[in-house]
Amino acid sequence: MTARPTSPTPTAAPRSPRPAAAPVFGLVLAGGLSSRMQRDKATLEYRGKSQLERAVELAAKHLPEVFVSVRAGQAADPSRARYPLIVDSVPGEGPIVGIRSALAARPEAAWLVLACDLPFLSDAALSQLLAERDPAASATAFRSAHDSLPEPLCAIWEPKSAAELAAYQAADGRCPRKFLMRHGAKILEPRDRRALDNINTPDEYREALRSLVGEASAAMQLKIQYYALMREQAGRSDETLETTASTPADLYSELKARYGFTLSREQLKVAVNSEFASWSQQLAAGDSVVFIPPVAGG
């Protein structure tokens, strides 16, 4: 059993709903065999980031510490070695081994366990899970939108589940889902229903990729008006533009490159829908944007 790097154990989880609840750490499972995918699921990329990277980053936004669960032979694997690891320390196969190893490594902690094949996993889903956690149950899990069964690999496993899982495994139990159905797990209805869609086959991966890429690059139409020096440099006073820029800052970079505007962004202000706006405001389809060069009234 290894939990590294060792860091001080927090005395209380800052986001736990009750003062007496165990702190929650994150555990991203990356020890699977990925047999149906025929390649390592942890390294599948979406929008330039591996599945494992995305899951760890998402969990780290909500939890004080996040570890990656690996089998003994995987600890040196470069895609995994960069993270604090929890190497399987109990015998057997499957995700229960990873969960039990984490519970053994930090007996005082609860673990938010995440599979690394959930490309649609969202902040909203993790927030709901943490907010509606029941520390008195063995685990808190979502009900799957597909088969109505509890989803063990996007769930919080409480310290008390360690002994129950050991007994379950000793009786030849292997399936964490069945475990949750038999033991006192709190089951939540997911508000973000798609968050738990997992991908197991190359076809599902291609489908998820298409869907995520489609969202990321969803182009929208914006109306741009140009004034003064910028009107002259753009050679037009307005245009309707199809763009993937999501903020005024991105939009200005795009247009500066296109028209060679000589003013730097620091010299400008920006207005969205005829009101001053921030450079990082999220733009919506149909918004009207005006860049405001240094003014000179009077």
């Binding site: 003064a228 003013l263 730097s264 010299q267 009101e275 005006v290 003014v295 000179a296």
Partner: protein, 160 residues
């Protein structure tokens, strides 16, 4: 209280009439005129351009701030857009108040804030045939300047 644009010469007689008030004992105006030189160059004409839908909002905010800071009766600002010749009036500010002191203070506050904050741009046409957007062309060579800094060296008004 209102801020508006004029496409043609500002009618100061009508503007003044809007500020008449039996309770006002003082009335102060400021007129900005087109001058024949700026920053060492001979100016022959000016062109004003405004982002009017935002400018009228920002102008109204300035007038509201002025009346909140100084106890004035009425305030009005009219700004020209389009091409102006030397001696033409570019901007008119009028304030009526119970006493003259507030009227002077509010008038000064309004014209200063309008120059700083309202999205209006001025293109100067020079004797030698050149032209340039005030505060924009020189700044373009100094991209490290902040917006405020860009304003700070643009305060020498050629219409004031």
């Amino acid at each position: 209280m209102s801020f508006r644009f004029a496409e043609h010469a500002i009618d100061t007689v009508a503007a003044r009439a809007e500020l008449l008030d039996p309770g006002a004992g003082g009335f102060v105006t400021f007129e900005g005129w087109v001058r024949d030189f700026n920053e060492g160059r001979e100016v022959t004409a000016l062109e004003y351009e405004a982002f009017q839908s935002l400018a009228v909002k920002e102008g109204a905010r300035i007038l509201a701030e002025a009346t909140a800071r100084f106890p004035v009766r009425h305030a009005l600002c009219i700004h020209r857009v389009g091409r102006l010749a030397l001696t033409d009036m570019a901007v008119w500010v009028g304030v009526s108040a119970t006493h003259r002191g507030e009227a002077f203070d509010a008038c000064r506050f309004i014209i200063d804030a309008v120059k700083h904050r309202v999205p209006i741009w001025k293109k100067e046409h020079y004797r030698n045939g050149d032209s340039g957007w005030v505060n924009c062309e020189a700044c373009a060579a100094a991209p490290a300047h902040s917006h405020e800094a860009a304003h700070a060296h643009g305060h020498e008004p050629n219409a004031a």
